[in-house]
Amino acid sequence: MSASGDSSRSATHGADVRRVECSEWRHRERGQTTLDFALGMSIFLLSLVFVVAFVPGMLEPFSGGAQSETPAVNRVADDLTQRTLSNASAPYALDETCTAELFTPGAPVECRYDGTTLADRVGVLERSPVNVTIRGDLDDSGADSVLCWDISVVGGQLAERGASGCGPLLSGGSNPAGSGGRTVSARRVALLDGQDVTVEVVMW
């Protein structure tokens, strides 16, 4: 830009101006400096505001909001469906007893988990709340509902929540209602008691 050239030129002519010794003229010589300054400043401030408003959105995908929970939910879900509740030779085929007992305080010895709380059993620290829910559609109603383990028949069977004989609900852990709406979830489809069910792990 020629800003420096302009100022040097105006400086050289400043001597002439001072010789004129007329304050009114000097005021006029400034031209539209006030308007000019207002316009230039507002353009600058507008672009600054735009940049400041734009940068957070630009950084959003990289913000650390759910960074640790995202791999954690996947690991918990994979571990539940492929190791803890089933075995590596038949992944995604869940063991009925261990699945039903996962959500109750007592842990059978034949199951591959121990501890008393669900967070302990899936190996998640206390400060990261975790919720595990098993959903399915047993009656072909077109909508999934939370399942429970019906203990009224010998050996037990799957039932939808609210059915008669509904025993332990296949849902446990912290309540996602207290998460503030910022949760990360992972879903796995698995086979439980001859039915395809969805295991959903939620962390926040």
Binding site: M1, A3, D6, R9, S10, H13, D16, V17, R19, V20, W25, R28, E29, R30, G31, Q32, T33, D36, F37, L39, G40, M41, S42, I43, F44, L46, S47, L48, F50, V51, F54, V55, G57, M58, E60, P61, F62, T70, N74, A77, D78, T81, A90, P91, Y92, A93, D137, D140, G142, D144, V184, A186, R187, R188, V189, A190, L191, G194, D196, T198
Partner: protein
Amino acid sequence: MTPRRPPSDPGDQERPDAVTRTRGQAHTLEGVVSSLILLSAVVFALEMTAVTPLSASTSSQHIENQQESTARGVLAAAAETGALERAVLSWNATSEQFYNTSDPGYFTTDPPPNRFGTMLNRSFDRNGVAYNIYLHYRDDDDAGPDSQRLVYQGHPSDNAVQATWSLTLFENDPLYDHEETPTATTVSDEPTYFAPAASDGAVYNVVRVEVVVWRI
């Protein structure tokens, strides 16, 4: 913005004309230039990152991972119950295509009306997720695997994921009718079945079931 001068004073003879012109719109130009610098810095920072909110795709790696795992779970659950084998062996010898399919010989809009299709419907159709299912098998010539469509809902998007499951068919596996009931015909007795016998032994062929899943 045309540069304007203050009305020239008639008594102002010795003042050079250049003085009023020189100041011009210096501040405006500075504002414009500083805005350009700021914006180009933002553009430069945007170019540095691969995925931004302005990227055209709505894909999310997390969702793709969930779909891939879901597809694998559906395949594993269907294979464990035998529903996958029944769906693959549900062959109509008369029309030489799968049962319950119309002209193209594969399912296009609805899932297959069997147990496997029910699982697909619960996990994918209801959630607005499209899928293709291909059956890759070994052809009798040694030209490599051939493939047959079981479900084809369209060309997958760029963000599709896939999961596969290998299914071994034996010579004495029965074919199934449209109600998933085994028939008296075994797969090796049916010359119109899409996969030929790949060996002389008890193994008839190995079908690799490939599910390609993408968000619509």
